[in-house]
């Protein structure tokens, strides 16, 4: 770092006031530093604001479009409101085709909610056992699971279809639900987190108190692993909610569709049934609300748990 001090271009943007005097011994730099700091501040804020527009404008467009009648959607400016028809649109969406849309939302909540809940539990148990017990074949098991991380579920969609059609179980709730439970990355995260956050002494203490291993897991370990568990749950929830290929290949019966597949089929019918376009837009808007709420309300958990996946 010795070369650093001699570089006149050093922008001395060092933020904390405590470090500043020590780092600026020469007078010409002292005069220039504030202006350069203002410039880099401004440049940084411009980058952030432009990025915000890029990330949020499409969502804003979806919101304004969801409030428009079919005529306004085609004729008015996409980024500002026309007549506010959101309530009418919602009513039409929820009643179209015997309320199939609500059925799809319910299906998605079931596939993703129940799937992520059970999936998180079994991943946590497996990861915890790999972290806290010593047994022959432990590394083999872990490496097979890690290999599973590298083979994505999407590549398995057709093979899964072949298996389920062998037992005549395609086009059922279970054909989408059961494969979604398996989340090798969750096991990986749970193992890392259990290793780092569940002390062996605590487990020994619980044993001395006469608690069974299973009970200790559900009381002591579960509490300590909560941030990791919320992270695993949320990301598995998103993965199942977003899953497209598996339901596309498994399901024929519309009433079993998750909302993504339902909206996809509607969107491909827009050219034959023009009024369906409004339902696609409003349906898309409604379908992203649950996930945004879930992320916002649970952020203090997953933001602390997220960094642990890259611990090495």
């Amino acid at each position: 770092m010795s070369a650093v001090t001699s570089t006149p271009a050093a922008e001395a943007t060092a933020a904390s006031g405590a470090a500043a005097p020590a780092s600026t011994p020469s007078s010409p730099r002292r005069g220039r530093a504030p202006r350069e700091r203002v410039m880099s501040r401004t440049a940084a804020m411009i980058v952030m604001l432009v990025s915000t527009v890029y990330f949020l404008l499409p969502v804003w467009w979806l919101f304004t479009s969801a409030t428009k009648s079919r005529e306004d959607f085609g004729s008015s400016n996409g980024l500002v409101f026309a007549d506010f028809d959101l309530v009418t649109n919602l009513g039409n969406l929820f009643t179209y085709n015997d309320g199939i849309y609500l059925r799809w939302m319910l299906n998605s909540v079931l596939y993703a909610g129940a799937g992520a809940l059970v999936g998180t539990l079994i991943s946590a148990m497996c990861g915890y056992a790999l972290a806290k017990y010593v047994f022959p074949g432990r590394e083999v098991v872990f490496n097979v699971v890690l290999g599973g991380v590298l083979v994505p579920a999407t590549a398995l969609a057709l093979p899964l279809f072949l298996i389920f059609s062998q037992v005549g179980a395609t086009n059922t709730f279970w054909s989408v639900f059961l494969p979604s439970l398996v989340n090798p990355f969750g096991v990986y995260l749970a193992r890392i987190y259990a290793t780092a956050s569940v002390p062996d002494e605590l487990l020994e203490a619980a044993r001395l108190d006469g608690a069974s291993e299973v009970r200790t897991f559900f009381t002591v370990a579960r509490k300590l692993m909560t941030p990791a568990l919320v992270t695993i749950f949320l990301f598995q929830f998103v993965a199942i909610w977003n899953n497209f290929f598996l339901p596309l290949i498994m399901l024929r019966d519309e009433s079993l569709f998750p909302v993504t597949l339902g909206l996809y089929t509607w969107n491909s019918q827009v050219n034959q049934i023009p009024e369906i376009r409004t339902y696609v837009i409003v349906g898309a808007f409604v379908s992203i609300i649950p996930l945004i709420i879930a992320f916002l309300s649970l952020q203090r958990f997953w933001q602390s748990g997220l960094g642990n996946g890259s611990l090495k």
């Binding site: 990330f55 467009w61 890259s310 090495k312």
Partner: protein, 315 residues
């Protein structure tokens, strides 16, 4: 896999170190055998049934060929060796789709991760105010499923329905030469915030004392970012890169949706779409062979990338 040993390190000072434990236990009886089985079995059984078994069955199916007695005889599946794999390797449509996602990945993954890294560094720097707001704003698109994101952008690209018709009526984002990059933009839009957060939380875990010494030496924020922060978050970047490579090879939702907006996306635009189209023919055996090739290629590529970056880090 060396990650196993490495991951054990942050556990810190475990008394009676785990290093000595295995030798002792392997000779003795395994303690808590029933509890271990109870913990492992649920995941193990489901993993075997819905991960290992399908792969095995797909390999088996891919070794079969359908034969008929004359033109109208009943179809019979017989063992065909590697016939299907020869078909896959001679299938130009399939390889065109592989080439397409590789080109996509070579451009889109570095761009997306580069943007994610820059935004994470800015969020972590003292230059930016309102961090909490920006962090959430950038992350919102991750809550939008690929299908929905593709529908939204499909309309935003549309020459007559887009709010940006001034641009979209002059440049056809859905034309054959642009559509791949229009899809790349959709994928980037969804995943930048997610990758940014992974890198950012890794930045947050760097202890502040490390910066103090550099600041005393007069290092600028830029120098701190380039020489201290980036090298320390390389593991996080590797992780995001692996997931991005996997995601790219598996691309299906976004291009499949774009088929209702434009004719520029063929039914086998990506490898997974080729699998789907082939299985719908139906030519299940050929589709199974394609699936096996694709799963294997994904595994090999992300594994090779992992090993490559690990060796570089150790060198």
């Amino acid at each position: 896999m060396t990650t196993t040993e490495l991951t054990a390190v942050p556990a810190g000072p475990a008394p009676a170190g785990p290093a000595s434990a295995p030798a002792r236990v392997r000779r003795a009886v395994v303690k808590h055998k029933r509890a271990i089985l109870f913990f492992l079995l649920p995941f193990g059984v489901l993993f075997a049934l819905f991960y290992l078994l399908p792969i095995g069955y797909a390999i088996y199916q891919s070794l079969l060929v359908v034969e008929r007695d004359g033109t109208f005889g009943p179809p019979v599946e017989v063992f065909g060796g590697l016939t299907q794999y020869v078909q896959v390797f001679q299938n130009e449509t399939f390889w065109a789709s592989v080439g397409r996602v590789l080109l996509f990945g070579v451009v889109q993954v570095p761009v997306m991760l580069g943007v994610a890294l820059v935004l994470a560094l800015l969020l972590d720097s003292p230059l930016v105010k309102g961090k909490k707001f920006f962090r959430l704003a950038f992350f919102v698109p991750y809550a939008v499923p690929g299908v929905i994101a593709a529908i939204m952008w499909g309309y935003l690209y549309s020459p007559n329905l887009s709010p940006f018709t001034a641009l979209t009526s002059n440049v056809d984002f859905l034309s054959p030469q642009f559509v791949l990059w229009s899809i790349a933009n959709v994928v980037t839009w969804v995943y930048v915030g997610y990758n940014m957060l992974i890198i950012y939380s890794s930045l947050l875990s760097i202890p502040a004392e490390i910066y103090e010494a550099a600041k005393l030496d007069g290092a600028s924020q830029l120098q701190i970012a380039l020489r201290i922060k980036i090298p320390l978050v390389v593991p996080a970047i590797v992780l995001t890169a692996i997931f991005s490579i996997i995601g790219t090879l598996q691309l299906i939702a976004e291009p499949q949706v774009f088929r209702s907006f434009t004719a520029s996306v063929s039914s086998s635009f990506t490898p997974n779409m080729a699998v789907y189209a082939t299985s719908a023919v139906p030519n299940v055996n050929l589709a199974a062979a394609m699936s096996v090739v694709l799963a294997l290629a994904t595994f090999v590529m992300s594994f090779a990338f992992l090993k490559f970056t690990q060796r570089k880090a150790n060198a």
